[in-house]
């Protein structure tokens, strides 16, 4: 009987070529694809806001976001994704559907999105200039600070965008894009960033 191996492949597996891209000698934008994560959509049931909030607080030690923001909770990030709903993002295996199901039983419906999205982190001196070509959101530091989040569109493609913790004193913008659009948006990102010079890599860790 044949043996089956179930290789996991990111939707950007083919498109992502690690290394420099675009204008030579420039290093304006850093793109990192993050590959190993669990992502669960939590949708509060009708009238169950209080119960859900308690459950979330108990599980994560922080309040679930009720407005567009991303809340860091130790080993998870809770990202607002719409009214009565948020995403739980964690390193693969930490907060899976199976683990969260009993937590929210009766107070929220869960939907696994771990495979439905690709996660791209954008940083660098020119990150805002590059994102201004893709996003209609105002990313000025006074307006879109650390922890700000938005359910929005980039290049007519739905994304969840939030600002993570700064890295090397630079802003980091995280983009969750639907998996089947990921390669297309990736190429658009490269086109937008090429004039600034790009450094490309991927990571198995949430950064």
């Amino acid at each position: 009987m044949a043996e089956f191996s179930w290789d996991i492949r990111s939707p950007l597996d083919r498109a992502l070529v690690a290394g420099p891209y675009g204008a030579r000698g420039e290093d304006g934008v850093t793109l990192i694809e993050i590959r190993n994560f669990d992502l669960v959509q939590v949708m509060t049931r009708r009238g169950a806001a209080g119960e859900m909030a308690k459950a979330a607080q108990a599980r994560f030690g922080v309040a679930a976001p009720e407005t567009p923001k991303a809340v860091s909770a130790g080993d998870a990030t809770l990202i607002w994704s719409g009214p009565d709903q948020f995403l739980v993002l964690s390193k693969g295996g930490r907060h899976t559907m199976e683990a969260l199901a009993p937590v929210f039983a009766g107070s929220a419906s869960l939907s696994d999105q771990s495979h439905a999205r690709a996660l791209i982190s954008v940083s660098g001196d020119k990150a805002r200039a590059m994102l201004a070509k893709l996003s209609s959101i105002d990313l000025h530091p006074d307006v879109f600070g650390v922890g700000a989040a938005a359910a929005t569109s980039m290049d007519h493609t739905s994304v969840t965008l939030w600002r993570g913790k700064d890295r090397n004193a630079q802003a980091v913008f995280n983009v969750l894009v639907f998996a089947t659009f990921a390669e297309s948006l990736w190429h658009t990102m490269l086109d937008s960033a090429a004039e600034y010079g790009v450094t490309i890599s991927h990571s198995e860790d949430l950064v």
Binding site: G47, A49, G82, S136
Partner: protein, 91 residues
């Protein structure tokens, strides 16, 4: 045009999809054919402030009731549809 989504804040037109006049209410199942014909087909087609259904499909996926002047495109109010944000109902 920019719409202030009650959940997301001000967003640009491209994130929204338009449906139309929010005034007609879907008649009850037994309301009869005339009532539903009226609901489906007849419009006041207001020249002035009008309550409209917009969908924030490029954002939080909430359906919104937007009051917008069809003569000037000026938006005077935006509220969520009854079932958007229902988790707090009764709470």
């Amino acid at each position: 045009m920019r719409i202030v989504c009650p959940f997301c804040g001000e967003r640009e037109l491209g994130e929204f999809t338009y449906l139309g006049d929010a005034k007609p209410q879907r008649p009850a199942a037994d309301a009869g054919e005339d009532a539903i014909y009226d609901y489906v087909y007849l419009r006041d087609n207001i020249a002035g402030p009008m309550s409209e259904h917009w969908y924030h499909g490029g954002g939080c996926r909430a359906w919104l009731k937007v009051t917008r002047n069809t003569l000037t495109h000026e938006i005077s109010s935006v509220e969520p549809a009854a079932g958007a944000g229902a988790a707090k109902v009764g709470a």
